[in-house]
Symmetry: D2
Subunit: 291 residues, 4 copies
């Protein structure tokens, strides 16, 4: 024990920082309500740790949950009916953030009884930093009924920090829009360009070009999705891949009644199965044909 | 629509593959029980997708949950009381596995009501592939009461695939052992060397050297943890960092009673807080001193 | 010193392995010549180290250089006039390969006087594994006059191992083709599909679909490059960015006569410069418009 | 062609920026000389591109070479005898920097005839960002006789940006020091802590703790290297691995006289070789034993 290193700790002001943050969020919620806001994003960036050596992760997660529950309580108290959103981000500047990705955030919401109170704001560059495609993060949110808003930017998957570039990749835009369509839109959320010019883009016109280019990219993405839906081949490919779960034994499995004894009996009757093709190359060809 | 691509899909054998896997796991559970096994690890490697273009992720996750529930049911039916474990792995050979990391797996278990039936087998090289330290994965499992076993291997963080090397890093071993001690051990689970020789290590003695070196590394890790605990400085540093949550307003916050109005009043009384030091460099120095 | 570990080393057969490899490459060169081959690729995969702890990197690089020089000598001796190519790969299965990327390989060729005897076979998935875009590797080879052949495959930039997928990304194909056009083609080299089906693609037709899709992608890439060249806007944007180096002080700098004293005098005359825009968003918009 | 986007390009001030940089470096070189400096580091951070779409990489590399040659000329003109150093960095904030790593920088120096005029300042965090260990970068510089100085910091290999932390890893420090010892030191260069406190470390004492911890780590590294040298086992393991190249056929190969015909004859005499063990696990055990 080296008590000399510890002299400042007795009056540690951590609770004061927590309270200060609470007062700030309280005010921001009230202002949002006053202005008629429909969404309130908990945009983070520090809600994690730099090293576990100095961190009580269990206690920090409980503090975070209590903070967010207090926000829910205050929202209801003041009559604000807008959506509360969490924007997952894996790291930067911290080594690890508690809302690393959609699945991690959903795990947290479930554990602390906050499901139903929060939706997710997916930021595409945060998605790629966490090792996932933006499409994966959108779909993970969508199938768990927590997709609420999209920060429509992009980053370079070979770059390890957040660059927040305007989206120009048509393929990416098409995947994003396919999630939005499957989600029946995002309202009361929507898209926002959480994107900025490159440091070297110093002309005034660059700002206009970037927005036009980003908007056009989203529009091309939506038109491509329309083409894919009209053509129907890709949807049909996916539907057929799972159709054996629509009837008989498959339907029984989906109903949670596929016990191991019944299935073993069927296997002894059927013999070793052939492995069906995943048709990945076909799926990719159908997708690229729409671009 | 290109119906010519679809002709084979009508007889798709996906349900047969599911049933075949069920019969295999049924048999393996029974053999484990017969042999007096105490743990059963769902070691995976294919439980994910290569591309979302051909995948219905929602349906696949439901299938996986139903499969695991059926395994739980069968385990109880045959009177097997051992622990069921899931071993998270982010990818390889698939692009994305559904048990990506501990948090993702815990999210899945919660959603499908499987918490309490499964523990986690943390594999250190899988941890690093998912962008986390092994220590992070262990701690995430520990604080959620699902740490059950450890595959004690390692990988190179600058290498993007699973190498399963014997652990030789003393610092890593110390962090691992600190989680084990905090978890009051792992029983009925434990450690296993899911590690192998390098391809170029062709002498018979290499196999002995590797195991001795791996075992010595774990032992040095445990002795270092003992030193850290006896010294107490590092634990004290962490304890002091959170001690302002032990009493008064802090305790009220931890009890879930820190509403925003009360906190705002305290802030107006306290003024803007000073930011306390995280003491990271001190924590690192204390840790390294024990190695 | 632990002499007991060393007893086997005295008769170490490393030279025999080197000689065996030499005999293999000798035979392969002769067969290639006999069959009228026009290219000979040193496809690697082991020419590196797993750990520097057991490696004399200096000596290994000299051995590699002597081996390649001996191959050049033998090629000339037997009258084989085909191109010798090295295919850079950063790692996998080794931690580090000596032909990590194009720049590293070019450095090696220069140091050992082998420039002029070897060209580069760029593999796009190896490029992305080394942290570069395929386009970067192609351009680095092209501007150093060593671009000889292209393995036209692709990988997922979020995946850390070589997947060798068929190329389906139109944007990537366009960038690749733009390098080929600027290089006046690749002859006597060309493209080859060093790409394979996904493990899950088990239908016979998948092999056809994959090749058709890959070939169509390359064709769309070439047509897009034609569009970009005809339009001319993107080339013009780049040309204008550097045109101030075409005359006067700029031309003097390019001629290697821009000494610091002269330049300082001009600066004192000109004053602090405005920073010109890199027009990245415009360049991206022009590029995407051609897709 | 969209001529309206181009109106500003005619007076593009790129040459003025080049000249301005020249005047700045001229002044900095003169001040360094006046103050008795012994080293001059070209610390970069912008010498690359964000996208190849707007970049003429060939021309930019020639400009950079001419700039550095002019610096060499000016250095000689003013009688400054200090070492000029380049500090490789792969990226951040640019997508690609022209001095990506040691090998890339050495390739550049060779191509433009600048070898002999520049040494390398290895920054350990830049090393890890480029996908290499710091030890790899040091060794690559050392065996090419261009190791001149070390920025002794560290980063987290699971984090994709430059964090410049104080070095606390004993293993890493030992590897670094082993390169320094093999290089017979670094003079007139040396070590510098290009490292900073974490943002959360707000106490004054943190600055002292960090420097003490960093210095102690380097000292422990040096003492470990002394232990390894005194013990001799690891050096002996490496020496034995290559000793078959010290005599007879091996020596002939090293002298560049191992032609394929001679080697093939020896192979026919020797038969297929056994593959010798790389003894990696033993090397790792010997190394860790010294920590």
């Amino acid at each position: 024990m080296h008590p000399r290193y510890m002299h400042g700790a007795a009056t540690s002001p951590e609770v004061k920082v927590y309270a200060y943050a609470a007062a700030q969020v309280k005010k921001a919620l009230e202002v949002t309500h006053y202005l008629g806001g429909e969404n309130y994003v908990f945009w983070g960036g520090r809600e994690g740790y730099q090293t576990l050596l100095n961190t009580d992760m269990k206690r920090e997660l409980e503090h975070l949950a209590n903070f967010l529950q207090a926000a829910v309580n205050h929202k209801k108290k003041i009559g604000f009916n807008g959506t509360l959103l969490i924007e997952p981000k894996p790291q930067e500047p911290t080594k690890h953030q508690y809302d690393w990705d959609v699945a991690t955030t959903f795990s947290f919401l479930q554990k602390f009884g906050l499901t139903g109170e929060f939706k997710i704001n997916v930021e595409c560059n945060h998605a790629t930093l966490s090792g996932h495609s933006c499409h994966h993060e959108l779909e993970t949110a969508r199938i768990n009924d927590i997709l609420g808003n999209i920060d429509a930017n992009t980053g370079d998957p070979q770059v390890g920090w957040d660059t927040d570039e305007f989206l120009t990749d048509i393929s990416e835009a098409t995947l994003i829009m396919s999630s939005v369509v499957k989600n029946d839109g995002l309202a009361p959320g929507g898209f926002n360009f959480d994107a900025k010019l490159r440091r070297e883009s110093t002309d005034v016109e660059d700002l206009f070009i970037a927005h036009i280019s980003g908007m056009d990219t989203m529009a091309r993405g939506l038109r491509n999705v329309a083409k894919l839906i009209e053509d129907g081949s890709l949807d049909e490919l996916v539907r057929k891949r799972y159709q054996s779960f629509d009837t008989e034994i498959g339907a029984m499995i989906e109903a949670g009644k596929g016990d191991f004894e019944t299935l073993e009996k069927k296997v002894l009757e059927w013999g070793e199965p052939t492995v069906p093709s995943g048709k990945q190359e076909l799926a990719e060809m159908l997708f690229q044909s729409a671009l």
